[in-house]
């Protein structure tokens, strides 16, 4: 029992224990003796434990209140210090919390689905591409044979025109198989989700709405049982999903049932399905992989024509984050750690300087009996309170900033909008605040104070200049310089990469060209002639608008996903250099109307553009790109050459310049343009032209309104989607990169400012501490220039040490980010030179003032104060 009480005593603050433990022991021992019987003893000890728990908490609270009161008085005397310390912590904690929120949502957090660890994504894999969409036939066979998958769903993006609810609207639909929702374990907010019964051929067409579409289109009104027309077909709304359900993309609007026709199952080269499965409980990913690889091998034997070298790729849904997005986020996380490190070292320097100023006060308190624990506790309270206030402000700013950074997260990722901070982020902020307050606040202060409690009582605090503190301050300076250089070099390299990417020639004109989405509903325009009539009408009227010089339609804009990669066959020539569907004998496809090349500013190198003669009854022709010619007829005249492409034999009528199809960072690839009238009725659904491009001197609101009117008159059910300039289309492609460079730039600017302040503060403080020594030197005849040089030298050595470490770490970081650097080498010398130069200038300017002040020290005054 005695031991129990000894343990209970440890609940009290040390000072309290030192003061009263003896007497408390005696009282408890007496009480124990007097307690009679088992129940009496038990009751007594119950009282002792309850009393210890309540009074110990009270004793701590008393101390905290005292400390807070003391802190308030002490901090009120130095408001400058308080504001700086809070601002510095707020910056560090705010930046780190912001980046953590993003990184957490995208890379760390478990996905918001039940049993999410068992969810996997599946692709077909061929030697050239490890992730290729599934064909319906292969999906069906894999699904029926795989035993390690509990459910296996497939989906494809199926944008559709929604009419009948106000303005015609282009919505981002997703066509899914019946197992889609059950695989994800998703429950509807209203009504029901799609299920296996909806897959039956006789089933009525039904749709499930996203929360966002339900709110924006129906204002949250009862909607179940209502009919919406999608691409001309009526669908009954059977459910609404909750707000946080957005799979497979953040902007998914509605889900309909994927319907496969007999044609879909006949052609195993028809790859357009994404596979999503849930592993059978008890099966590992590896087991499922092995099983599906075996199934794929069997399919390869059964269908050697189409499934040669076709295997399966399977990864966890959690890991389905594009490498670039992953790298960008880790890069930002690293940068935010740099900012936090700079903020923390700054805070530590501030507290160290303040600790020195407070030596005398602390020494007095020590002399009066305050124990070391008591003083640490006081410092802890003060620093945690400062960091806590900083953390609070940081968290508020993170909360405000995060929604604006959503553009960094690819829309295709299955993560919700990273918006308000939640419990995880709060805990993270508390942790960072704790580390900032304790790690960088109390420990350095106490380290510096070790063994000098009494020395502070002497007049003049020469003890403070002692080696240990000096070393600690030097270390803080070097760390700040290092972190700043790391940020400068990495953001510098990424900035250079951005400049390089942005200066790439896309191969078409970006100025003065407007792109207007006019997605014709396939169901209404199956006949080519009907479609041609629509395009002709819109184009004729658009071209007549004032200021419009050219107009045309295309199936896909450059830089936009779509178009597909199609096999090329040249009569009489054997395919070499590749196997299966995705060899080098491929090209991407675009259907266009006459005038497309002139509108886009794509130069015609040889032959002719399409014209009205290129219709369904004429000989099938094609215009090809220069890289197409280089690949297939490198030293020949391509005009008049024939090749098989897109289910028909075509003759080369013209050659145009290359354009960058898959973004500025990817090289040009062979392109085939086909005339819009030569799409056979009812085929090539996805390739119908649906982007109206027009070149106009001024693309103002009036012009857009006119175009809308023209489209409306041509077909009242045809929605007008996004209206953008081509410069915007290209810009969107580099948006994540620009946002990242912007963020890194902001971090770098912050860290430069912080480092500047930190360096200045530390050097100024160091000089003020050395007044006596400097005065003595001056009194002994040291020249002013010598004093200035001495102070500057000290800063230069520290800066050089920090910068060298920073360059080494920066290089390592750049190696990690190499794939984002687009042609800029991780060891790009000019970047490192500029970074080093900026830091050198910063350090020199930061120490110039203290150095000059040192040189102006009045020897007599300085010596008198010693």
């Amino acid at each position: 029992m005695k031991r129990v009480h000894e343990l209970l005593l440890y609940l009290y603050p040390a000072a309290f224990r030192a003061e009263y433990a003896d007497e408390m022991r005696r009282i408890v021992a007496d009480g124990n003796r007097q307690a009679s019987g088992v129940f009496g003893t038990l009751a007594f000890w119950l009282d002792v434990v309850t009393d210890a728990l309540t009074s110990a908490a009270g004793a701590h609270w008393d101390l905290l209140r005292q400390d807070l009161g003391y802190m308030r008085r002490s901090l009120a005397r130095s408001p400058g210090f308080v504001v700086t310390a809070i601002a510095v912590s707020a910056l560090g904690i705010g930046v780190t919390t912001t980046v953590f929120t993003l990184t957490d949502r995208v890379l760390l957090r478990q996905l918001p689905y039940a049993g999410a660890e068992r969810l996997v994504k599946l692709w077909e894999a061929v030697p050239q591409y490890s992730r290729m969409e599934l064909s319906p036939a292969n999906y069906r066979d894999l699904k029926s044979r795989a035993r390690s998958l509990e459910t296996f769903a497939a989906y494809y993006f199926n944008p559709v025109n929604l009419v009948g609810e106000g303005e015609p609207l282009r919505v981002r639909g997703v066509a899914v198989t019946g197992e889609f929702f059950v695989t994800l374990g998703a429950e509807p907010l209203l009504g029901r989700v799609l299920d296996g019964a909806d897959d039956r051929e006789s089933a009525e067409p039904v749709a499930v709405l996203s929360y966002r579409l339900w709110q924006s289109l129906f204002g949250g009104e009862p909607v179940l049982g209502r009919t919406v027309r999608l691409d001309g077909t009526p669908y009954e709304v059977v459910g609404v999903m909750p707000q946080d359900f957005t799979y497979p993309a953040r902007d998914s609007d509605l889900w309909t049932t994927a319907r496969f026709g007999p044609d879909d199952f006949e052609d195993r080269n028809n790859n357009y399905l994404y596979g999503l499965a849930r592993l059978e409980a008890g099966h590992t990913l590896e087991e499922a992989r092995s099983e599906l690889t075996l199934v794929a091998a069997r399919l390869e034997e059964e269908y050697p024509e189409t499934n040669q070298d076709v295997s399966v790729t399977m990864i966890r849904l959690r890991d389905d984050v594009p490498r670039d997005a992953r790298l960008m986020l880790w890069g930002l996380a690293g940068a935010s750690v740099c900012v936090l490190l700079i903020a923390c070292t700054n805070l530590a320097s501030l507290l160290l300087a303040r600790g020195l100023e407070r030596d005398k006060e602390l020494a007095v308190r020590t002399a009066m009996g305050a124990g070391r624990e008591r003083l640490v506790r006081q410092l802890l309270t003060e620093n945690l309170a400062l960091a806590g206030l900083g953390g609070f402000i940081g968290l508020l700013s993170a909360n405000a900033v995060v929604p604006h950074l959503v553009r960094l997260v690819p829309a295709s990722l299955p993560v919700g909008e990273p918006s308000a901070a939640d419990a995880r982020v709060l805990w993270f902020a508390v942790l960072v605040t704790g580390v900032t307050g304790i790690g960088f606040g109390v420990l350095p202060a106490m380290r510096g104070r070790r063994g000098m409690e009494l020395s502070g009582l002497r007049e003049g605090v020469r003890a403070g200049i002692g080696g240990r503190r000096q070393r600690l301050r030097s270390l803080l300076v070097a760390v700040q310089v290092m972190a700043t250089v790391v940020l400068l070099t990495t953001s510098g390299l990424l900035m250079r990469a951005l400049v390089r990417v942005s200066s790439q020639d896309p191969g078409f004109r970006t100025e003065d060209v407007l792109a207007v989405q006019t997605p014709v509903a396939w169901t209404a325009y199956q006949e080519t002639a009907r479609r041609a009539a629509l395009y002709d009408r819109i184009l004729t009227e658009t071209r007549a608008l004032p200021g419009v010089s050219h107009a045309a339609f295309t199936s896909y804009l450059p830089m936009e996903i779509g178009g597909g990669i199609w096999p090329v066959k040249i009569p009489g020539r054997e395919e070499t250099g590749g196997s299966g569907r995705q060899g080098p004998w491929t090209a991407s496809l675009r259907f266009v109307t006459p005038g497309f090349f002139a509108t886009m500013g794509i130069p015609l190198r040889a032959g002719r553009d399409f014209d009205e003669r290129d219709n369904g009854t004429a000989r099938y022709v094609a215009v090809v790109s220069e890289s197409f010619v280089e690949r297939f007829w490198p030293d020949e005249d391509p005009l008049g050459k024939r090749f098989e492409f897109g289910f028909a034999e075509r003759e080369v009528a013209g050659v145009v310049g290359d354009i960058r199809v898959r973004g500025l960072e990817r090289p040009s690839e062979p392109q085939v343009y086909l005339p819009y009238r030569q799409v056979p009725d009812g085929s090539l659904i996805g390739y119908v032209p649906k982007e109206l491009v027009l070149r106009a001197a001024a693309s103002g609101e009036t012009l857009v309104a006119e175009v809308r009117r023209i489209v409306r008159r041509a077909d009242a059910e045809l929605p007008v989607g996004k209206v953008r300039t081509l410069a915007e289309v290209v810009g969107e492609q580099t948006t994540p990169r620009r946002v990242q460079v912007g963020l890194l730039g902001a971090f770098t600017a912050l860290s430069l400012t912080l480092s500047g302040i930190g360096l200045y503060g530390l050097l100024a403080f160091s000089v003020s501490q050395r007044r006596g020594e400097l005065g003595l030197r001056i009194a002994l005849g040291a020249p002013v220039s010598g004093i200035v040089a001495m102070v500057m030298r000290q800063a230069a050595v520290l800066t050089a040490a920090g910068a060298s470490a920073g360059i080494a770490v920066g290089y390592a970081a750049a190696r990690g980010l190499e794939s984002l650097l687009f042609g800029v080498r991780p060891g790009d010398a000019p970047t490192y030179l500029i970074a080093g130069g900026i830091v050198a200038i910063l350090a020199l300017s930061a120490c110039a003032l203290p150095a000059l002040r040192a040189a102006r020290v009045d020897p007599t005054e300085a010596l008198r104060t010693e």
Partner: protein, 120 residues
């Protein structure tokens, strides 16, 4: 010594333990254990101070200036030098009086409503 009534008011109500300790110290200096015993005796064991509560209260009262440590100690044969003796200060006495008045006022109120017997 006169104390500003407003200042005294701001210290009320006193925690029960504080009031009992002040009462125990009203007639003579006592050490911690003696206070504990006095309180138990005067309340017939109805109010028992735990050791932790006692010393936490004593520490707070020292900080607030309600009590001080007494310099004079009993005769050596009665003394245990490890023990500390506490003495009530004029402030402690004033605040205890103020608390008594406050409690008496409450009893008077209750009496007026027939909640407390008259003449007690």
């Amino acid at each position: 010594m006169k104390y500003d009534a407003e200042r005294l008011e701001s210290m009320l109500p006193l925690p029960e333990a504080t009031f009992h300790i002040l009462t125990a110290l009203a007639d003579c200096d006592r050490h911690g254990y003696a206070i504990l015993q006095d309180v138990a005796a005067r309340t017939q064991g109805r109010f028992r101070l735990g050791a932790g509560t006692l010393y936490r209260s004593l520490q707070r009262m020292l900080d607030q200036g309600f009590i001080v440590e007494a310099r004079e100690r009993p005769a050596p044969e009665d003394d245990d030098e490890r023990r500390r003796y506490y003495r009530i200060t004029p402030l402690g006495r004033a605040v205890a009086r103020a608390e008594s008045r406050r409690l008496a006022g409450l009893v008077a109120l209750a009496r007026a409503r027939g909640l407390a017997p008259r003449g007690v």
